[in-house]
Symmetry: D2
Subunit: 354 residues, 4 copies
């Protein structure tokens, strides 16, 4: 299966199934000399890990990352950074409801058709557990990016939508609540709503907004590898994502060009920023901001009817400890993927001029 | 500048500036033995070409494609297919309003910063003229895909939104009107609206919906290269695109999992299709559908203020013959990029199993 | 540092330094359904490991591979196969003779210049220890290739050259002696010679011949990715390799075309095989055979003069347990890289025709 | 057919068959701001073109390159450089001896097996005509490399071997004779020999030595993409090449480590250069030198027996105007591929350090 490598120069390869021995990855292409703060990496992982609050899955996984190579005397050596997170929660459970039948809106059916069989334990490779490796790599990328600040936050849960723009919010409040919404009033409403959804054994979708600031002019490669095209791909590669928009996004289609065009200040900055910090696929120095839409998690703790491998209807029941809403834990994943894209383009950008 | 190559196995490399000698490309990886209908390729190009109706740019370019290699006795040989479209409209015009100043929401400013200088004639490489090469390659991909049907159409112009779903429409009507909207009543309203916008010298955005049918189960590679992630990247790489969503998209975030999950029929098809034909990044045999949002074209035929290279404010005036709304001509581009993505995954899919 | 990924579809990423925590890798792209014999993999590693005979380094490393993912119920799942070999021999030794000075004909100097600093312990990433990961991946590739037989053997040590062609040898004897030369008389001479060289604290070069049989017609991609071009790159990427030739090789330049051309039998096979099983970069079904030349190992156990980081001359002394001749242990590495190349082209070959 | 793209960052895509409409290519990744001397490019093409002397094929092809994009006001813009060379010599000839039968040691047989059919005219894509595109791209790469000097020359024809090392030769004499051998006495002997071979309707092989000087320390990526591994692949991708060796090469296997190791001078240069300017896959600032072995051209102007598509024996006769020895015309191709490899690593080298 191709598709486990992300990036051109700052490359991440990931491996691992939900209930295999370990998940992990290799970062290839990180330049030599980047000072690595291992605690900061683990901290990012902790933002993503299960069991961190009452509104996320109550599974217990410490998600401790071990580094195998590429870091020496506190700095990257320029050689590949291999790492692994051992799965501690891989005891044999009861998978009979998954093994021979297909959960609706999961990848069970398509994996069986594509590969002939599948590692059914906890969703195998299709589980969002894989994203822990992305968070590790993204945390390294953040340390390489240094002055570029990347902040993601939850801006919508179900139809509860944050009215304010990111410029009107204090993004330092994002981590102050389990929803990861920087508007505290809205955060507590969202939290209550997610709890109610959880009680029903149901799930709900949401939107994460991400802002990248201090991005220098010139990142991104025109034509196919536009900065926003790679950001879009990065976001859409995260489990449960259904949509991506940047700058004016879907709302922008309603505007006239005369209103949508971002007029220049003398210093090359723009007065408005409908462009979302990107023109022609290249960063223009303004804030880059975008929205990523997540569907409701497919695993619901309710009885449901589905089919088995032979096409027979079967009655089954969702089990286990699952997230009623994925967006709070997906915030560090969105940031990680953003960091990977920017790190890659930062390196590519060095090749633009003579 | 990297980024001019699209695809892993069915690869398109493009070259060419708006007002250079020629644009063109190379398709590498198309298997041998595909029967090529050259007229069908030219026909796709004609759907994209300027001057085809009153609501698109009135520039005259025949956009005739010449093939240089890779096709022999009516079939692909398996060797790279080189092609070019000579620019016939490259006479020296007056570019003084572009040469030394930066048009708002164009790529002029970022190209100058990234590359040190730029081919300013007609936008150079950042012009949507480059997409003609994509249409050629996409038309070849369509012939390779054969039974897979790809239909795109305009579903929104400004805030005029088609109320109906694609399943309620007769998609064969798309080409019957200059807007390329299969709802004829809506089409004529949109056409009138675009004409009014044009009269103002202004522009307006829009949305294109695309549907791919008869896609076999199993296309797409999980994790980073999910089918919808590559479709998203493909769409976001088209000039003026600001957003992408598939299946339930941004609206899906408001749904509960119990409603959003697509229940199976006995044959593996699903009753609903909120998944948009893709689960876990892999096609499941249902229709794939997605929306692509286009901003209003940045070139307006109005006076405006901007800055020159030195940061001085300058008064200028948009000139030339431009599209008041890009979506009618972008329909074949959306289809072409969809075909390229599917062709690539069709080839990759051959490597999944022993 | 790019360059840690090998292959297009059957992809190996490796990581790890000689004296870091672990070395390892990820195989991405191995199709689902390949039955995996874990013992066979470990056996290949054992063919490469230190301490296996009196003529190789006496270091003790068990080189036990652990698999983390991608194998389920004895078969590949199509997902990436992550693995690691923990370094058990990484105790802090005396590296003072390496840390601040540059060993002649090692990579110390260039690493310092390229990366600014280096993990000097045991050569870090430039150590041939990295090749253990290749052997693991190659053993998986061999299991995917199944009927294709790959046999490498030592055909030259110093100026002791095997007079016979591979067709005149019983390749099953290769593993019967520590040199890995299938001519037992020559093998014992080579063994005595290597022991004498070792006694001097010196080293000697050698040549490995490799034969791939039962390769189907059609593997290899013309133009840049010719089968022999990838084989050549694969071999030249192995530590200490200085040359590669296939078929008639360097001797072939002396022949006339009328003698060199391989005439066809009626079944498409050829009477002679100066082509080495490859025509125009594509396998023709005949045996593929090639030679790979290894220089004498740079580490000698003798006193020598060199320079330190500041360019001062320093007297030092080679230490540790090193190979007097690299070819006996390199035989499984040559086979592994051959298997990786063939596995990649086997997958690519599936995309040639409609 | 994959394999028509060379390089990671400085990328060349080529297309075209021997007797199609045109051959050509796209250089993607050349940085902006390189001053382009178009005459110098055409001059390189002229060094490769047919009919330039009595010892090469007498075909007449002007091989005039047209540039389509990527160069503006005399400099590269950073956008892809598209170019084509129209085939003027593609009139319908008599191909009956090729169309339905397989020439020995040509790619006819394997193309038919791999692709199902082939463009048989003049060898189609397998013809060395394709290398003209490489020469164009290599000439651009040379202009980007600027101070790096690349000189190839013929060092062996048949068993006539230049006794002297490149350091003992005046490389400026290479172009003074049709053989492209800088030793004039040897050159005239080689010339006479090739003429005699030609009279017989036969062909002969040869060796080209290439030297790259002023290469900065640090080019090349360790592990799989070692500088010499990529050079080896580049050379082996040229038609008719059977072997590659660099530095001490195949002779080096006979040396002891104590003699082979290159001792340092205080400035980091080395006294000897058995390493061939590369250590651990990375340039060390010394001269890079290597040999490339070419087999005798397969097309001989003699009657011969072969098989047709059905396996029947047929008597046929080589026709046309062919090279009796390929090395004189291959000198600029070797230089071009060397330039492409170095240009790619020059760009990659920018990403090594923070």
């Amino acid at each position: 299966m191709p598709g486990n490598i992300f990036g051109n120069l700052f490359k991440l390869t990931t491996f691992g199934e939900s209930h295999g021995v370990a998940i992990g990855g290799v970062v290839d292409g990180c330049p030599a000399g980047v000072e690595i703060d291992l605690d900061a990496i683990q901290k990012e992982l902790d933002r993503r890990k299960p069991g961190q609050s009452a509104i996320v899955t109550q599974r217990k996984e410490p998600d401790t990352v071990e580094f195998y190579s590429g870091i020496f005397e506190g700095k990257t050596t320029g050689t590949p950074i291999g790492f692994a997170i051992h799965n501690t929660n891989q005891k044999s459970r009861d998978y009979s409801h998954i093994k021979d039948s297909y959960r609706p809106s999961h990848a069970d059916f398509v994996y069986d058709k594509k590969y002939g069989f599948r590692d059914y334990r906890g969703g195998g490779r299709s589980s969002a557990r894989e994203t822990a490796s992305r968070v590790v790599a993204g945390a390294i990328a953040k340390q390489f990016l240094k002055d570029i600040k990347i902040n993601a936050f939850v801006s919508q849960v179900g139809d509860m939508k944050l009215g304010k723009k990111y410029t009107e919010l204090d993004l330092s409040l994002t981590e102050s609540n389990p929803v990861r919404c920087p508007d505290l009033e809205m955060a507590s409403k969202m939290e209550a709503y997610i709890k109610a959804i959880k009680k029903e054994g149901d799930t709900i979708g949401g939107i994460i907004t991400c802002v990248a600031q201090n991005v220098p002019v010139g990142l991104g490669e025109p034509v196919f590898d536009k900065l926003h095209a790679e950001l879009g791909k990065a976001m859409l590669s995260i489990n449960a994502v259904k949509g991506f928009e940047y700058g004016s996004g879907f709302e922008g289609v309603k505007m006239k060009g005369s209103a949508h065009n971002d007029k220049f200040n003398s210093d090359g900055s723009t007065i408005t920023n409908y462009s979302g910090g990107i023109q022609g696929g290249i960063s223009n120095g303004m804030d880059i901001y975008f929205n990523t839409a997540f569907k409701p998690v497919a695993t619901i703790i309710q009885p449901y009817e589905t089919i088995d491998k032979k096409g027979n209807k079967v009655q089954t029941q969702g089990k286990g400890r699952h997230d009623p809403c994925v967006v709070p834990r997906a915030v560090p994943i969105v940031e990680a993927m953003t960091a990977l894209v920017l790190a890659d383009f930062k390196l590519l950008g060095r090749t633009s001029k003579l």
